[in-house]
């Protein structure tokens, strides 16, 4: 019997995992963590991540997809240097309405002999969370095991102030929209500054995503943001290619950060110190 598209998509073996480095702005752009990104089955209409997850949300299969992605990521993570932490995207809906996800998460990590302290869960929210107490409980259980929490797409959609208070994340991931043309846009700078100020007050770090120009990168650094994730520094790649490329974009002439992967670095904040893999 022919498999439906959703059945194909939910098979971890049909997914591919790429990783994109998150860099520290200071400290010679050392690699701070890797975000694991999943691509859909090759040769289908939904190979692209944005279309894949759009399809999954329309099928209301977020929880099943998050489990499938986690399985694929754990398998790929075996090749990631052990001192690097790994960010995994999980829907808020999954954490709030699928009680067994956290158990599944811990079981998968045990199966692959991966330490929970290496992981950061990036909470993705595209729909109102159905069960906030359940979400809070899931986050608490993850935290108790050393997992860090990030709030994705801050400034957009459902990633609002309430989520910031309820989740108390270790990171805000500031959406690419806010870094665009930052140098020339005073209003954008004001918004970014407000997020940085809020993060400082909450003892939370900010990761600026999707920076497209060196000028915007400089401006992000000036605003006090400590962590960046950008194709101009290094696009997402399979882990093997990332290691060969030295965590650099093709054609980049900046020094490779391979020599600064060691976790013993000067910390610029106590929060940063807490989040580095021991």
């Amino acid at each position: 019997m022919k498999k439906s598209l959703i059945d194909i998509v939910l098979d971890p073996k049909k997914l591919s995992v790429v990783f994109q480095p998150i860099f520290r702005v200071e400290h010679q752009l050392e690699v701070y963590a890797l975000e694991a990104l999943v691509r859909g089955p090759a040769g289908t209409n939904i190979q692209r991540a944005d279309i894949l997850f759009d399809y999954v949300r329309r099928k209301k299969a977020e929880a099943e997809m998050d489990r499938s992605c986690l399985s694929a990521i754990c398998s790929a993570a075996l090749k990631v240097p052990s001192q690097l932490s790994i960010n995994v995207n999980v829907h808020a809906w999954t954490l709030g309405c699928s009680a067994e996800f956290v158990d599944f998460f811990f079981k998968k990590l045990r199966n692959y002999n991966l330490r929970p302290e290496r992981f950061t869960i990036e909470i993705v929210e595209h729909a109102p969370t159905c069960n906030v107490p359940e979400l809070m409980d899931s986050i608490a259980r993850l935290r108790d095991s050393g997992v860090s929490i990030a709030l994705d797409d801050v400034g957009l959609g459902q990633s609002n102030y309430r989520m910031m208070l309820d989740c108390d994340p270790d990171y805000f991931k500031l959406d690419a929209y806010f870094a665009r043309n930052l140098g020339a846009d005073a209003r954008r700078r004001a918004v970014v500054q407000s997020v940085v100020t809020l993060a400082d007050a909450m003892d939370t770090l900010v990761v600026a995503e999707g920076i497209e120009t060196p000028e915007d990168l400089v401006e992000v650094g000036r605003s006090g943001i400590e962590l960046v994730q950008a194709n101009i520094l290094c696009p997402a790649m399979p882990i093997g290619e990332l290691l060969v490329a030295g965590f650099r974009a093709p054609g980049s002439n900046r020094p490779g950060p391979m020599e600064v992967l060691a976790p013993e670095v000067k910390m610029s904040s106590t929060r940063l110190a807490k989040c580095v893999v021991p």
């Binding site: 022919k2 598209l5 959703i6 209409n45 939904i46």
Partner: protein
């Protein structure tokens, strides 16, 4: 730039035929076999034209829901409805959604291509 067309069809054989024929005609062709797949594609690509069967065998008359969705997403996208059934009430509802053409199945691919050409022009 090639015109991009989206075909919603759950028959594997027809999907292969459409993709091959209309690609050869010079269009960018995406074929979706589920409504949710088609809706996800619509959200990410600008389609000049959508072709949908009115009735998708496993899903009842979801072709009609899909037509309404296309109209919500884009008033400019042209819509051709294919149907092998005679359901006057459903056809009337489809026409009320401002579809651009009704084509009765079975139809020759060239006849369908001629209808597409009429609606969005011949590819360069």
């Amino acid at each position: 730039m090639k015109s991009r067309i989206l075909i919603l069809e759950d028959d594997d054989q027809l999907v292969r035929s459409y993709k091959e024929f209309f690609s050869d005609e010079g269009y960018e062709v995406d074929c979706a076999q589920e409504v949710e797949e088609a809706e996800a594609l619509l959200a990410h690509f600008p389609y000049s034209l959508v072709i949908t069967d009115l009735r998708l065998s496993k899903l009842g008359f979801s072709g009609l829901d899909f037509i309404k969705h296309v109209r919500q997403v884009s008033a400019q996208t042209r819509i051709i409805v294919l149907t092998g059934y005679s359901w006057p009430e459903i056809e009337a509802e489809a026409l009320a959604c401002k579809i651009d053409a009704f084509v009765k199945k079975p139809t020759q691919l060239q006849e369908l291509a001629d209808t597409i050409d009429m609606l969005i022009g011949v590819p360069a």
